[in-house]
């Protein structure tokens, strides 16, 4: 646990440095920066609270309909693009408070849902909006005592969604990490969820095989992608 404390100290120090740099460049930003050592210095919490800071650095990113020539866009204003906004409003019109929209960026939308609702939301996204599954990523947040599992959804079936990635994030308790499986909605999550089970110890209820997959058969340690697992010598 001591190594973990070191890690958090480091990140706080760096955080202060960054805020100084941003002071010079953009005076507005400092107002949204949370003070170090508070709960808000957590990466995801700060993402949730201040989307304007995320949008501030100049980025080259291609936008527009797939295949059409488009010029690189400097994303300076936080105003989200109309197409993505339309999708997000369609989702919130159906689910209201059940779905929390974390950010809307060009080609990217992120939603957060509570674990009991994720199957319902994913079924809606598949049947009504035409999203197909792409990838599953789990992230450990020891400071929040939570594990976040995020499903990235792309679309093969709808041409105007081809470049879009919609991600649904859901969080579970670290000590008793359980989530409902999405295997009945997207068959393709089967191996991804199995990998998340062994790497982060999230049990997917309803998944036929919460078993070892990539790790050695005699693996007898904690799930390796949890933050308290340290590589030897590091």
């Amino acid at each position: 646990m001591s190594s973990e404390a070191n890690h958090s100290n480091n990140s706080n120090n760096n955080f202060v440095i960054i805020s100084n740099e941003f002071n010079k460049n953009n005076p507005e930003i400092t107002t949204t920066l949370a003070p170090p050592n508070s709960r808000h210095d957590h990466p995801l919490v700060s993402t949730f609270s201040s989307s304007s800071r995320l949008a501030s650095p100049p980025l080259t990113k291609t936008v527009g309909s797939p295949g059409s020539p488009s010029t690189p866009l400097r994303r300076k204003e936080p105003e989200p693009p109309a197409f993505e906004k339309g999708i997000a409003s369609e989702i919130s019109a159906n689910f209201g408070q059940m779905v929390q929209i974390i950010f809307i960026k060009p080609l990217r939308i992120k939603l957060a849902v509570e674990p009991p609702n994720i199957v319902k939301v994913a079924t809606f996204l598949r049947d009504n909006l035409g999203y197909d599954h792409e990838s599953v990523a789990g992230t450990d947040y020891p400071k929040d005592d939570q594990i976040e599992v995020i499903y990235h959804l792309g679309s093969y079936s709808r041409e105007d969604l081809a470049g879009q990635v919609l991600s649904i994030a859901t969080r579970t308790n670290r000590d008793d990490a359980r989530l409902p499986t999405l295997i009945n909605v997207y068959k393709s999550v089967e191996y991804h969820e199995r990998e998340t089970f062994e790497m982060l110890g999230v049990y997917f209820e309803g998944h036929p095989r919460n078993e070892r997959f990539l790790l050695p058969e005699d693996w007898a340690d904690i799930p390796p992608l949890r933050k308290e697992f340290r590589i030897k010598g590091r």
């Binding site: 080259t60 291609t62 990235h152």
Partner: protein, 386 residues
């Protein structure tokens, strides 16, 4: 029959246990790999009923290196050399989307000339990877000429990449902010010369391999993956395009300069092993057109990379960026907590996604068709394990 029952009764009196033949006894369990030369560093257990595969269970992980965990200990730049290890034959593409994601997080802008050189290296590497794959596919179909020719022609592209990057296979060429160095003198002419030679060779490949009646007999109609199943199983790359879905990240979400390039997404509708073997070939041919355009449009002079601070970092946030690699969409999901080291890196690779199609296609197929189906999936075990 009475004789048999007598014998069973007699044996039971003597205390023997009689095991009657069950469904399981008819089946033979066979482990393909990890030492089998046809599987790569990968094992899948099949159950055979006579010649037919009735059950298939993939068992990856023999080359799992914990790439995702390792990234958390190194800063954004230090991560590049080890991140290309999962697929050294396509090392430019696997670091391409990583660089794109880091650029999005840190707000680095890539100079225009750097974007072109990146795309050129990426297309050259796509040829290297696909030729390597084609060589292996050829030898497992018993076509040893198709092993020798691509292996030889692959050297041309390796030489080009060596001139460009300084290394033969593991280039570590893409960095956040551009590429490591500029193109050498005379690179454009050399590249164009080799492409024209290579396009002639591709015609010969088609004649000797893809139009070969034996190859067609072995691959056509074998392992049908319908469009609906391909979407449901979430496959990507050539496997998806062979099932009639014209989906290519270079078209769907053009990165860097790909929106200025005129090319067609290559796909087929027959959805069998032949289509899955032919689509990468069509991709190679289309890639030659892309390379010509890239070399033509590349600015004559200019910066090739942006100036970076010693430890690039950005505000806390996350990015998910994808490129089209030799095996399909290759995405990086990176979470940054504001420090120079990433908080979490998830590598979403095509091989891992295509693995789900393996049991789907093998169950019901003949064991003799196993190499035809397995290798057409464009599966790279090391990449899937990460």
């Amino acid at each position: 029959m009475a004789d048999l029952e007598d014998r069973i009764n007699e044996s039971q009196k003597m205390g023997m246990q009689i095991i009657k033949e069950s469904e399981d006894d008819r089946l033979m369990t066979l482990s393909v790999g990890p030492q089998h030369p046809g599987s790569g560093h990968f094992r899948f257990v099949v159950k055979l009923d006579g010649d037919y595969i009735v059950h298939c269970d993939p068992d990856p992980g023999y080359v799992h290196r914990g790439e995702e965990k390792m990234t958390e200990y190194r800063n954004f730049i230090q991560n590049i050399p080890h991140l290309e290890r999962p697929v050294i034959h396509d090392s430019t593409n696997i670091t391409y989307s990583y660089s794109l994601a880091v650029e999005e997080l840190t707000g680095i802008e890539v100079p225009r000339r750097g974007q072109f050189i990146r795309a050129i290296a990426s297309e050259l590497n796509r040829q290297v990877y696909t030729l390597y794959w084609l060589a292996i596919y050829g030898i497992f179909l018993g076509h040893s000429t198709m092993f020798m020719w691509p292996t030889g022609d692959r050297e041309l592209f390796i030489d080009l990449l060596e001139a460009l990057t300084g290394a033969r296979v593991t280039h570590a060429f893409n960095i956040p902010g551009g590429v490591r160095n500029d193109v050498p003198n005379g690179f454009k002419d050399r590249c164009l010369r080799q492409i024209s030679y290579y396009e002639k060779r591709l015609k010969e490949y088609e004649d000797i391999f893809y139009n070969n009646p034996l190859v067609r007999q072995r691959t056509e109609g074998v392992g049908i993956l319908t469009k609906e199943d391909a979407i449901r199983l979430g496959v990507t790359g050539s496997v998806l395009r062979a099932s009639g879905v014209p989906y290519d990240i270079r078209k769907a979400e053009p990165y860097d300069v790909y929106n200025e390039i005129d090319f067609k997404v290559q796909y087929m509708k027959t959805a069998d092993s032949f289509a899955r073997a032919y689509v990468p070939f069509l991709d190679m041919r289309e890639s030659c057109h892309i390379l010509r355009q890239l070399l033509d449009k590349m600015p004559e002079a200019g910066e090739v990379r942006a100036k970076l601070q010693a430890n690039p970092r950005g505000p806390p946030g996350e990015a998910y960026r994808r490129v089209e690699s030799g095996r399909g969409a290759l995405g990086y999901y990176i979470i940054s907590d504001g420090t120079p080291k990433p908080y979490r890196v998830k590598i979403s690779v095509g091989s891992f996604r295509n693995m789900l199609a393996l049991p789907h296609l093998l169950v019901g197929a003949k064991m003799g068709d196993m190499p035809v189906i397995y290798w057409a999936l464009n599966y790279w075990p090391v990449e899937a394990d990460r």
